[in-house]
Amino acid sequence: MNDQVRKLLLVGDNPFQGISHLSQERARSRGGAIVSPGGQAANIVLTSLKNGADGFSFSVSELALSILRTLRERKSIGQVSLYAMVPYAFEYVRVAAQTGTPGLVKSFVKQVTLSGDVGAMLEGLWSAVRMDPEGFVNTYLAYELSRIKSSAGKQAKLVSVLLNEVIGDMGLALDFDWLFRSFIGYLSKRRITPGFNTRNFPYFVKKFDEWGIDLDEILIVTPFNKAGFQMNPSKEECERTLANMSCPAVLAISVLAAGYYKPSNVVDYLASLNNLKGIIVGVSNEQQASETFKLFRERL
């Protein structure tokens, strides 16, 4: 182990969701849209924890919630620090594809209503009357938190809620500082660390600096890998921005460049990024979970 601060290691859920950013062919060959039913995925999460992972990072989808329910039933949920990414954009895009944007809105209103979160419903209604975007953000977050809590139970340790990059990067591009401030404000009041997933890390840091939003209290989830894959505008610029940060707020994703590298090929590169707070890495089975996290815990 190097002499840096112990890195946070999280197991990610992309392989469970049938996602491969290397190739869709590869994801399909692993078994299609959903490769791991809740039980199998829960085993992989627990094996990862046994071998050095600190927590589980997931998009708030029905599959991820079923994994949380399994961990709760097995009385293991208390051991897992949870990092939830919202929204699970794929589900919303799919509904919009089939029913159009009005259908998506109706479906979302129905879900919030069925969630039984009276507070969220009332706030949503009030926000709709006032056309208050901050109110919509609060309603949405209340809804997602209620979904997580009802699946994971009271023992769960929800450490962070992260904004998906599709929404976050759009907000960044459109200069919607209110979106980020609302997100941070709502979660901070509930002692949950606000986080943001971005594929435009240097742009993100520059904007937050312009807006005067403190990076010390948030997490930034962004790709870091040897290939420079998804590192925009360039690998060098991302590395420079990371090195210049005053606090370690960054969790690296795509560290294996979506399966382009093996864990043993990337560990030296990751170790060289001193300012990283941690990494999120997906694994497809228990053997991979054991090998990957053992190696990363030992070397990072």
């Binding site: 200069d175 435009n200 925009n232 382009y260």
Partner: protein, 341 residues
């Protein structure tokens, strides 16, 4: 001349669905562009967008309107049309007729049929502005690599191809889908991308036969057809929105040439030479980085191309004329289906 003295290009976006917001977002990251107006006919979307853009409106003057006429006084350099396909033709003609703008970007497909496309091309020619249609797959690093390999000529003239566009969007749907119709059916929704790629990579094609077509409601959710060119190239297109396990739409093409084969899809290109040696390029190998990534990186490159064409006042591809060829092929397929029925 210092950059401070250069006026920014003034852009507006019509249609505030996901594509409209994506283009508006990307354009807002360009130093040479000022996003000045957004338009959607839906009163609800206009209200929502006014509310979420309110802070920006104060600082930069972006306006959200629900009537095109309100664009007249804005001195626009270009307009993006990202409304449903069925409205492209009348919106673009309206923009030209009212003298609102000369330069137009339209999301794919250019129009609902070839007659409308032809009319739009004629209008654009008369106006003389720069046009572009959102066939963004041309800006993917892997498909660009395929184009580069074919252009080198070392593989020889292609003699056979098979191309596909698959998604799971309508897998399992049994009743009429209004959304499918508004998206133009499988041919216009996803098929158009692979047809455009094939035309770009292989040159002009003519539909020779329709193998199958499956319809839900008024629009097809799958179609297969064959095509040829005058040099003896033959190939087949398979397009479906009902394929299992296509989490995201996927596009691919297998091209056979005398000296080798190219197998390319959204993620990678596999080149097999005559001696069976292979080389694979993933996106990772092809410098897939952009200044600002939203959705796929090809969206940024596509917008960059349009913006640069305006700045340099030169033609842009794929323009209206080029894109009308896709509408022509789709019409040919639908005519053949109707004839068989």
């Amino acid at each position: 001349m210092g950059s401070e003295s250069l006026r920014k290009l003034r852009f507006a976006v019509i249609g505030l669905g996901k594509m409209g917001l994506l283009h508006a977002s990307l354009l807002n990251t360009f130093e040479d562009v000022q996003l000045v107006a957004l338009c959607d006919k839906s009163a609800l979307m206009t209200r929502v967008c006014r509310s979420i853009f309110r802070a920006r409106a104060r600082s930069t003057g972006v306006v959200v309107v629900n009537d095109l006429d309100q664009f007249s006084e804005l001195g626009l350099d270009a307009v993006y049309v990202t409304t449903p396909i069925s409205s492209h033709s009348f919106i673009v003609k309206d923009l030209y007729a009212k003298g609102i703008v000369r330069n137009v970007f339209t999301e794919k497909t250019l129009a609902s049929n070839y007659d409308q496309s032809k009319e739009m091309c004629e209008f654009a020619k008369k106006i003389g502005g720069i046009t572009m249609v959102g066939y963004m797959k041309r800006f993917s690093v892997v498909f660009r690599k395929a184009k580069e390999l074919l252009a080198q000529g070392k593989l020889g003239e292609p003699y056979s191809f098979s191309a596909y566009a698959y998604s799971s969007d309508f897998l399992g749907l049994t009743k009429d889908s209004k959304s499918s119709a508004s998206r133009g059916g499988a041919l216009r929704d996803i098929g158009c991308h692979i047809i455009d790629l094939a035309l770009w990579l292989l040159g002009d094609l003519k539909v020779s036969d329709v193998v199958s077509s499956y319809e839900i409601g008024d629009s097809e959710t799958s179609a297969s057809f064959t095509a040829v060119n005058s040099n003896g190239l033959e190939g087949r297109f398979d397009i479906s929105q009902r394929m299992p396990n296509y989490r995201m739409p996927e596009f691919g093409c297998f091209i056979e040439c005398p000296q080798g084969k190219i197998d390319v899809n959204d993620d990678r290109l596999r080149l097999t030479l005559g001696d069976n040696s292979q080389k694979i390029w993933y996106r990772h190998d092809l410098k897939d980085n952009v200044c600002f990534s939203l959705g796929e990186t090809e969206y940024y490159r596509e917008n960059l191309k349009f913006v640069n064409s305006l700045l340099e006042n030169r033609m842009c591809q794929p323009n209206f004329d080029t894109a009308s060829k896709v509408d022509y092929i789709i019409d040919q397929v639908r005519k053949k289906v109707a004839k068989y029925e």
